[in-house]
């Protein structure tokens, strides 16, 4: 029994190492000076002379700060708009008994099956024709709705007992006030989960921004990283590249460590839907 447990712990530790090692390596490489990195024929597993000059060059040689700002604006706007849109849609499906509701909801569910790859082509053409390339509007528009999050929130809204609605009606509460004063606060945990998942999705989005922006002034971090990879820092400056990689990864990892439980619960909900 003891032996079995030890083996299990050992194997789990091995996988933990596999997961963590790339993170260690990027941090390590980012604090080695260019000279010492290039001089290591055999890479060293630690450094005694850490330096932050790579971070300086990562933020000065390429407009990394600009990419960050762009990503931040993109993420905040997209998420904020999406939350408003899905709250209204979920409320309509959960609470309002309008004609055609069930049929419409089935059509919504059917849309969940549609892969992004199939619609991105026309969206690219649409945004190009509307002259919205290299604008935030063009970046944001296609991702301000999510059928899955509407579905998730609708399910949650439906768990709010009907009596609360009747009670509010007797008190003379308008639908809109009921939605924002009662439904939204009660369902806050789900809404927060949706927000976090959407923020992660936005922060990591690559394909759409790549198609829709060719002006570095509108690059998001993913595209920025790709740009750095393609055109580099003049020469093969791996440490500076790694500094940029660390800078891009850190915000999400912090977010994850703060909201670990919510994120994992949210993602497994995403899995359970199948």
């Amino acid at each position: 029994m003891k032996v079995k447990k030890t083996i299990i712990y050992f194997l789990l530790a091995v996988w933990a190492l596999v997961v963590l090692f790339p993170f260690y390596w990027m941090v390590l490489s980012s604090v080695k000076s260019y000279a010492s990195y290039a001089g290591e024929k055999i890479p060293k597993f630690f450094t005694l002379t850490p330096t932050f000059e790579n971070y300086t060059s990562a933020f000065t040689a390429v407009p990394l700060a600009k990419y960050f700002a762009n990503t931040l604006i993109f993420t905040l706007l997209t998420t904020a708009l999406m939350v408003i849109v899905i709250i209204f849609a979920a409320y309509a499906f959960a609470r309002i008994d309008f004609k055609g509701r069930n049929l419409l909801f089935i059509m919504f569910l059917a849309l969940m099956m549609i892969p992004n790859e199939l619609v991105i082509i026309t969206n690219f053409v649409t945004i190009t024709n509307l002259d919205l390339r290299n604008t935030f509007t063009g970046l944001i528009l296609p991702s301000v709705t999510s059928v899955f999050y509407i579905y998730l929130l609708k399910e949650n809204f439906e768990q709010v007992p009907d009596e609360l609605y009747y009670a509010a009606k007797v008190d003379g509460t308008s639908d809109l006030k009921y939605l924002f004063k009662v439904m939204v606060p009660i369902c806050r945990p789900t809404i927060i989960t949706v927000i976090i998942l959407k923020v992660i999705e936005c922060w990591n989005s690559y394909v759409w921004p790549r198609l829709i922006t060719d002006d570095p002034m509108y690059y998001l971090v993913s595209n920025g990283i790709q740009e750095i990879r393609e055109n580099g820092f003049g020469r093969d400056n791996i440490p500076a590249m790694m500094a940029a990689v660390v800078a891009v990864s850190v915000p999400l990892i912090i977010l994850f460590l703060i909201f670990r439980k919510k994120i994992m619960a949210g993602v497994s909900r995403e899995g359970i839907k199948g």
Binding site: P161, A167, V170, D171, G172, T173
Partner: protein, 363 residues
């Protein structure tokens, strides 16, 4: 505020166009006096909650009118009727504190009715004091007992000073002991405020103990309305007689012949002025006297001595169930005997038409 209901009918549409609808309330006429506590009593599914929701304005009638005083409120939305509603499961907003919940209805007031912050706080505290939860103003419902939640629900319903207070089975989620205590509380609050209160319940004991008037209904139809004791002592039909009273009334099959009431072959009571016919006979448990020369003989099956009185259990072929008779503890009963002879008290005995189950009066 007295409440008047005229020809009120509610039909819920069927699932699709072909299937017939369900009639929850049928041609209801009722007048409830001002300042009284009225119980709508009936078995579950009898339409009493639907009736309550229509009075409240959450449900609109298919036909008929509802008046508060002289005002026709049938088409007036709930919030403008001046009603307060207490839900079966309290319907307290889980994310708000007691104080916020009680203030919630006040914050919706608009125009002339709009209150200042201080006034709102004052009114909320008043309502909380009335239901004795003023010490828990900053708690959230999740941290309160069922009884406390119930009080908050009542405070929320009365804070707007409604003309009519409606309660939908408010005690059914409480345990037995709390239920007893809370119903006395409700009675007290109603007396203190003098608000016309309509209380829905399926528990006849609750209805008997709490209300000024009882409205007995079944399948959407009004059966009887009256003071609790009057309805108990003078039921209009077999359903009302059976529904009220614990233990339940004893029911026998029998017949009237030549001015006498028969159970089996025994002539158990003289009933004048009734035509010969088959009947149902209802005898309240306290309507029997043990008498060795009693006219009604049945098989003795058990005796429970409960302090101040004795419950005699006996059997008879004509009885719908085990016969329970409650007699004074001083009564001498031979526990070893196979049979027991009883006499029926005429004012505790009701006869009903076998066909219509309507009451047949005798002298």
């Amino acid at each position: 505020m007295n409440v008047k209901i005229e020809n009120l009918t509610k039909v819920f549409p069927g699932r699709d166009k072909k299937s017939a609808g369900v009639t929850a309330v049928k041609d209801f006429n009722l007048e409830l006096p001002d300042g009284k506590l009225v119980c709508l009593l009936g078995p579950s599914g009898c339409g009493k909650s639907t009736l309550l929701y229509m009075i409240c304005g959450l449900e609109s009638p298919t036909e008929g009118k509802i008046y508060f005083g002289d005002q026709d409120v049938t088409d007036i939305p709930s919030e403008k009727r001046g009603v307060g509603l207490v839900f079966q499961n309290y319907a307290l907003y889980p994310h708000l504190t007691v104080k916020q919940i009680i203030k919630f209805p006040l914050e919706n007031l608009k125009g002339e009715e709009k209150l200042s912050k201080e006034e709102m706080d004052k009114r909320a505290l008043e309502a909380a004091k009335l239901v004795q939860i003023d010490g828990l103003m900053d708690r959230k419902p999740g941290y309160m007992s069922g009884g406390q939640q119930q009080r908050v629900a009542i405070a929320r319903a009365i804070v707007k000073r409604p003309k009519v207070l409606l309660m939908d089975e408010p005690l059914s989620n409480l345990d037995a002991r709390l239920r007893l205590h809370t119903r006395e509380e409700i009675r007290r609050i109603q007396k203190d405020t003098g608000i016309t209160t309509i209380f829905v319940t399926h528990d006849q004991e609750e209805a008997m103990s709490i209300s000024d008037l009882i409205v007995v209904m079944k399948d959407g139809v009004l059966h009887q309305i009256g003071k609790p004791q009057d309805v108990y002592d003078d039921p209009v039909n077999l359903f009302v007689a059976e529904f009220l009273g614990t233990p339940e009334i004893n029911v026998f099959e029998g017949k009237v012949k030549d001015g006498g009431l028969y159970i089996g072959e025994q002539r158990v009571l003289e009933v004048k002025g009734v035509d010969d016919q088959d009947v149902w006979i209802g005898v309240r448990p306290e309507g029997f006297e043990v008498d060795p020369d009693g006219k009604f003989t049945c098989e003795l099956s058990g005796i429970n001595i409960m302090g101040r009185d004795i419950t005699v259990l006996s059997k008879h072929d004509a009885a719908k169930a085990v016969i329970r008779s409650i007699v004074s503890a001083e009564t001498k009963v031979d526990t070893e005997a196979k049979t027991i002879n009883l006499n029926l008290k005429p004012y505790k005995t009701f006869i009903f038409s076998k066909e219509t189950e309507e009451r047949i009066r005798f002298t």
